[in-house]
Symmetry: C2
Subunit: 247 residues, 2 copies
DNA sequence: CCCGATCCTTGACCCAGATCAATCCGGACC
DNA sequence: GGTCCGGATTGATCTGGGTCAAGGATCGGG
């Protein structure tokens, strides 16, 4: 899949896997053509840094396949992940010159890029893009605020359970399966990345993952495979009730 | 000032103190008139809850004067503040039916409100409003991410210093004084609210405030007055260097 | 002026999670 | 098969901040 995309960098927007969820989701055929004209694909390898905090951003774009992280780092090395970018998520901030965060690929990735200037001028003229971007930004803000509760008030075990629920739900949404009575997915993050996400150390992450496994909340297959026999149980461990409302 | 506004609820937009910073900032005279037609003022007392999480939102609006907090609460009572709303900040989310957070006034407040439906239809027709809202939402997202680093990776002392720098800077911006070599402002939050903001307990907040005072980083005048003799020193304590970049 | 309410401070103790330090695994490569 | 090597696990110990508890300051109202 990735291979295919990497080699065929002339993918038509109509066939794009993220066509209905990315910034372009609301565009009609004409608008899509305008985007088509200025877009270009770029691929990155796992571990590569797409953008350094403080750098000039010369492009914005959408994640097509793969996963990236947004991180902030202090001088002494403490780092906090502030965003997890999955397929269809938007990278970059129109109207700002320099990047505020590091963007790092955690898997091999393909991005659909637009040079910043042309995209900005296009945006002022096509309200469908601006509107969709507002919608996506509001969603991200909600996610960030949910995350603030996790960082500020949850225990280590609840943090891990919260992360696993997010990943499980997102995976289910992507493949349209639903989490009814169980879910199974690949962990796209190392223990260290999970720690940076949750404001923990990697040792604590490891211990709590082991504990959830010991208690039968999750089953591990290999190092990265996770199976959740009872999704509601996991949500309970995350401090949420089964509706996704706070518990 | 508050009294004046509360009594004179027929304030003209042209004379509005937040005219150049709120959602309406980019509007021209015609657009402003459209907003003027559907707006109404509402005032709240300190401690009052404007919106309960889960409620239907019947309006959106801007904070004109006063301060409110956005909080999330878990069933067992753990509370995390996820937003601090100051004059000119926007409340509510167009395109969503129910509120996701509690909104609570921490001081007496005046809000400039619009019924949600009319505002939404107006927004689709006036790109200046939509554009400004996107800009403000992106700023809020940046603030939320900054805050995530504070919550996830900073020590209690650094957290307090970070909060004080934010409040000091915001106050300086509001009165256009700059923080050059010192600042002085009123704390608009109780120790408990500060704790909810920073993911701490109120006892720890109290202890760390006392410690910063003991070390001469801040001077307290009464319970709420704070003077910062050397703002760069405070930034250093917050784990940032004097440029506001991460240290 | 006193009373009560609300907020704040300070102390003593405890524990969840950090830190330091060995291993342990699993896959890539010779 | 062996040998790296980058994760991951697990153990022992330490500590920052939480918890529990006892006052203290400030302020509005009678």
């Amino acid at each position: 899949m990735l291979k295919t995309l990497s080699h065929d960098l002339s993918l038509q927007c109509g066939d794009c896997p993220i066509r209905h969820r990315a910034v372009c989701a609301r565009c009609d055929t004409d608008e899509l053509q305008l985007l088509e004209d200025i877009k270009y694909y770029r691929s990155y390898e796992a571990g590569q840094t797409l953008v350094w905090s403080g750098d000039r951003m010369e492009f914005v774009g959408s994640v097509v396949t793969g996963i990236a992280t947004l991180t902030q780092t202090m001088e002494d090395g403490r780092t906090q992940m502030v965003g997890l970018l999955l397929p269809s998520d938007f990278v970059g901030r129109p109207g700002r010159e320099t990047a505020a965060y590091n963007v790092v690929a955690t898997t091999d990735m393909v991005m659909c890029c637009f040079r910043k200037k042309p995209f900005e001028t296009l945006m002022t003229r096509t309200p469908h893009i601006a509107h969709r971007l507002l919608e996506m930004t509001l969603d991200e803000l909600d996610a960030a605020r949910e995350w603030m509760l996790v960082l500020g008030r949850k225990t280590a075990r609840e943090k891990i359970a919260s992360l696993l629920s997010i990943l499980g739900r997102r995976d289910a949404a992507l493949r349209l399966t639903g989490t009814g009575d169980g879910a199974s997915f690949e962990l796209p993050l190392t223990r260290e990345a999970m720690a940076d996400y949750l404001g923990l150390t990697l040792e604590t992450v490891s211990r709590q993952v082991s504990a959830l496994k010991r208690d039968g909340v999750i089953v591990l297959s290999g190092k990265r495979g996770v199976t959740v026999p009872d999704f509601n149980r996991l949500l309970g461990e995350a401090g949420e009730d089964s509706d996704g409302r706070l518990a």
